[in-house]
Amino acid sequence: MESVSNTPEAPNARTPGSEASDGEPLVAVHGLTKLFPVGAGPFRKPSSFIHAVDDVSFQLGHGESLGLVGESGCGKTTVGKLLVKLLEPTDGEIVFRFADDSVAPAADDPWDSAAIRGRLLRSFRRRVQMIFQDPYESMNPRRTIYDIISEPLSVQGMGDVQYRVDRVLEILTLVGLAPAGAFLFRHPHELSGGQRQRIAIARALVIRPSFVVADEPTSMLDVSSRTGVMSLMQDLATELGVAYLYVTHDLAVARYMCHRIAVMYLGKVVELAETEELLRNPLHPYTKALLSAVPVADPGRRRQVPDIRGDLATPIDPPSRCRFYERCPAATERCLNHPHPPIEEKTPGHLVACYEV
């Protein structure tokens, strides 16, 4: 795999973290693989493996926001969970370089994800957080808003009650829930979907992490509350210098939230480029199909029919050739006989995994 890219400049005004002085990326993922065994038991070997994430590499700069886009089952959420260490990878490495390394390891030392455990895991959790998709299920219904937001602070043993209350009130105001005091002792079910997702953002950011994995944070929200949450996330990213891995199935949302977009198909990243470049000039046939399948709210405009065949193939023990072969309109003999194409830089900053580009 010689597929690691440089972190390109951000496409628009929201300039990602200039504080990363040495230009080292915040997250460097190399050859990340996660296989889930099928049919395994306590005394039984698995009969096959689901290739949820298969040899994925990318980098993410300080304060940058990278979109991970794909259909359901493509492994995008698994990548997110691997990055926050909710899952352990089968293979590959994830290296973090936090800008404010005051705790451990020493400043500027890389954090190898595989070596993070015990005490180190705790301080890792201060730097890496996650926002979950479902604003209804991701909060313990028995706990109050204060309990939910202050949980990262209290399990980390940060400050006394007064300190935590102050932090929670501060972050509640920051996420636009005012008067903050009126929310402290409410339960999640008393709030609307949009308000809950703001609480989820508050929980992730109260500890001031450097990196947040956002797993479809707006997909269950209504149109009008969605815009609010999206702009809130952007504002906070700039204000607090947070980098996002934004996992979503919605290219249009990714366009507004991300500097760069990586498109995943069956466990593989097939294309990675700056957002506008990817949308205007998609190179991989799957990206092209995905883009032309998004309905347009303009009745005067006719979309072209997405050029793709068949249905999503199974990720269980896929053949080694290109994952997209069966559905690809441009597939050739070469695609059939060669292993899955490596992801390569075709134009500066634009990476594609396809033989025919």
Partner: protein
């Protein structure tokens, strides 16, 4: 089809939490919240006829238990009324039928039946509640741990639970009480353990499994919570309502088990409802049909009433705990 929930801004808070400074106000606000949720649960419990009936019965028995020491201290002469060593010299023949002096008559050994009944009530409560606490403690912990860790630990606990379910509890108790002198406390422990490792642990485990897969558990892990934090802060609170429900049922079975063992004369207790019936039995008075009813009916009725009261309380709690049942009553 679901009724649309009215959407809109949250209503004005009932209590405005102006948490400027101070831990006291913080704690107070929290207490008020707990009080509010207790009150709503209490309301649902009291709405059900089963709940009111069971509560009334349990309170009545509790008053009976409390009345005994007072009566002994101020009203009753210990020489005549002590439940074990007393003897009523006024009666020519023992057992004597109810009279003004002995409202429930005397037993074959000349002791006052009412005094015995009231005295035993206390031990029944102690036994039932201790056994239930032990059961629920073990079952909740085992259920949560087995569900959370899974794999070997789960397999071990669950096979153990199967084993305990398969063992005939009463026969085992008979053997144990024949081998050892079981007093009230040991009996409560044994009944508690046998009850706890059985069905309750399996039911609580399945509940815990459904909690374990919720995204808020993952959220707690990302927040930095360890296994201990997740089990005790996120999983166990969700098991407690169900645990409370099974606690009620355990009280019933503990009282029942005690009655059976005492009836067989296997327990080292001073006095209990089972022993009262046992005494009647060894004197051959059970064969007398309804002629000596005061020897059997008070204790028998008490066992039945208290057991069913706890059972009904459990059923009523079920409605508090289980929203699915509650909705039907709307």
């Amino acid at each position: 089809m679901t009724t649309p929930v009215p959407v809109g801004p949250i209503p004005t808070p009932e209590f405005e939490v102006e948490l400027g400074r101070g831990r006291v106000r913080f704690v107070l606000a929290r207490l008020r919240l707990m009080w509010r949720s207790f009150r709503s649960g209490w309301g649902i419990f009291m709405e059900s006829r089963m709940g009111r009936l069971s509560l009334f019965t349990i309170v009545a028995f509790a008053l009976m238990a409390a009345a005994h020491p007072i009566l002994m201290a101020f009203v009753w002469d210990p020489a005549t009324y002590d439940p074990v060593t007393g003897y009523s010299f006024d009666q020519v023949e023992q057992p004597a039928p109810p009279s003004w002096k002995h409202p429930l008559g005397t037993d074959p050994l000349g002791r006052d039946v009412l005094s015995q009944l009231l005295y035993s009530t206390r031990s029944e409560f102690v036994l039932g509640i201790t056994a239930a606490l032990v059961t629920v403690g073990i079952a909740t912990f085992v259920g949560a741990v087995a569900a959370y860790y899974g794999r070997l630990l789960d397999a071990f606990f669950m096979r153990l639970a199967d084993l305990i379910i398969a063992l005939p509890a009463i026969s085992l108790l008979i053997v144990l009480s024949a081998l050892f002198h079981l007093n009230l406390f040991y009996l409560a422990l044994i009944i508690g353990v046998l009850g706890g490792f059985g069905g309750t642990a399996i039911i609580l485990k399945s509940q815990a499994l459904s909690i374990k897969v919720k995204p808020f558990i993952e959220a707690a892990r990302v927040a930095g919570g360890g296994d201990f934090h997740i089990i005790f802060v996120h999983i166990i609170p969700h098991l407690l309502p169900l645990a409370l429900l099974y606690m009620m049922f355990t009280v019933t079975s503990a009282i029942f088990a005690e009655a059976v063992l005492s009836f067989l004369g296997l327990l080292d207790l001073r006095m209990s409802w089972g022993i009262m019936i046992h005494t009647a039995n060894t004197g051959g008075y059970l064969l007398g049909g309804t002629r000596y009813w005061w020897l059997i009916v008070p204790a028998g009725a008490s066992i039945t009433l208290l057991c069913s009261a706890f059972y009904l309380a459990g059923r009523a709690l079920d409605e508090v705990v289980n929203p699915r049942l509650r909705r039907r009553n709307d």
